[in-house]
Assembly symmetry: C2
Homo-oligomer: 251 residues x 2
Amino acid sequence: MLRRFEAELRLPDGARAPSSMGSILHGALIEQLPEDYADYLHTENLRPYSQSIRWDRARERVIWRIGTLDRTAGEIIGAVLQSLEHIHLRQKGYTVDMQNIQCIEERGYQDIADEYFRAETAPRGAEIHFLTPTSFKQGGAYIILPESALILQSLLARWNRFCPDIRIEEDDLAQTLAAHTRLTRYALRSAAFSVEGYNIRGFRGQIALQFAGSDMVRRILGTLLTFAPYAGLGIKTALGMGAVETDIWKG
Amino acid sequence: MLRRFEAELRLPDGARAPSSMGSILHGALIEQLPEDYADYLHTENLRPYSQSIRWDRARERVIWRIGTLDRTAGEIIGAVLQSLEHIHLRQKGYTVDMQNIQCIEERGYQDIADEYFRAETAPRGAEIHFLTPTSFKQGGAYIILPESALILQSLLARWNRFCPDIRIEEDDLAQTLAAHTRLTRYALRSAAFSVEGYNIRGFRGQIALQFAGSDMVRRILGTLLTFAPYAGLGIKTALGMGAVETDIWKG
């Protein structure tokens, strides 16, 4: 079960909301969770949620978004969010009002897979918008270009971790899928994300990927990229990095 | 012997000068060359020059730039350029005035290599500005991200072709050099280059590369990237793609 929650944040006059504030909101959110669940999350490597903060130009609001990747996270985090009217940010020394908290989307993993595997035609491609700084790590180094294999590896790991019933597995699957995507358009720039006093290099912007290859390959690509806005992409998605929107070009 | 020539072009009122016009100027330039030299160029795969056209915002002028990569090209093309006051573009149906034609830079290959190999310290990195659409081809596909190995492979091929006296060779050298560069900042977007009625996908923008690795590796990187503005980068540099400026961070 996948859910996406959104809340509008009202910051004190003059306060800014850079993406890096995601890591402060993350700390404040964890403090609100039942203690045993917070303890459990600390022991996990891949967390069953992603969250991010960003200025939504169209709505002229600071938007806090939380995606949950399993039923437990959806229910516990959802209940906490619905109960909040404001959240205190100790590191900032101020309290933020929360408004219009809602679950904007709820879907099953099976439902997403069915959407692509039962469709008459396989999808043709996708656009990915990187809304907050996004970064990958490979061999100890930060990779700040959206390499398809890294995007797909990131999604496969999270999908298989949180949806054990529908595993998408095969040797070198991320590489195989990546070999069947073609970058056709983009606008990207590097962007730093500050966490615990140091800067992580990442990037923002958007790309268009055209899908090649068999129907099967294109259906898997559509499924994974529909999952991406819930899971985020790359490293530190629990702290506010790697928030994305995807737009799949149906066949 | 490397040379860079520049001319200011005055187009008819209302005429625009997109990068793709480079291929039309190329045709017009070839027509001005001595017939036997033009014939010789046709038989060559890697041409001993690059050229490009672009709007220079600072100077508010359309700038035509020609880089020559060996003595013969420098002398023949240089002599033709100096003799021109205007150039007729048959495909456009108009004549373009040429002003302030000059050789803005002249250097020897040895001189560039010496600059880096005799310096006390090796360079630390470089910025590359992609002034006209740039693209690479690998395995039959266009690659529209500035992958370091493709940039360096492109420069090594041209350097060794036109400077046989100072060959920079070793197995997998481009890969080795690329493994010692790190992309630290960038702003890039895809851009099309139209040639003979079809669009080639490429990109524009700028990147910053930090050099890692041994002194030797960093000296070679400095040498090749200083050569880049003469040679251009990637495919179709004779037609106006891949024009670059580079700025090397001395050690």
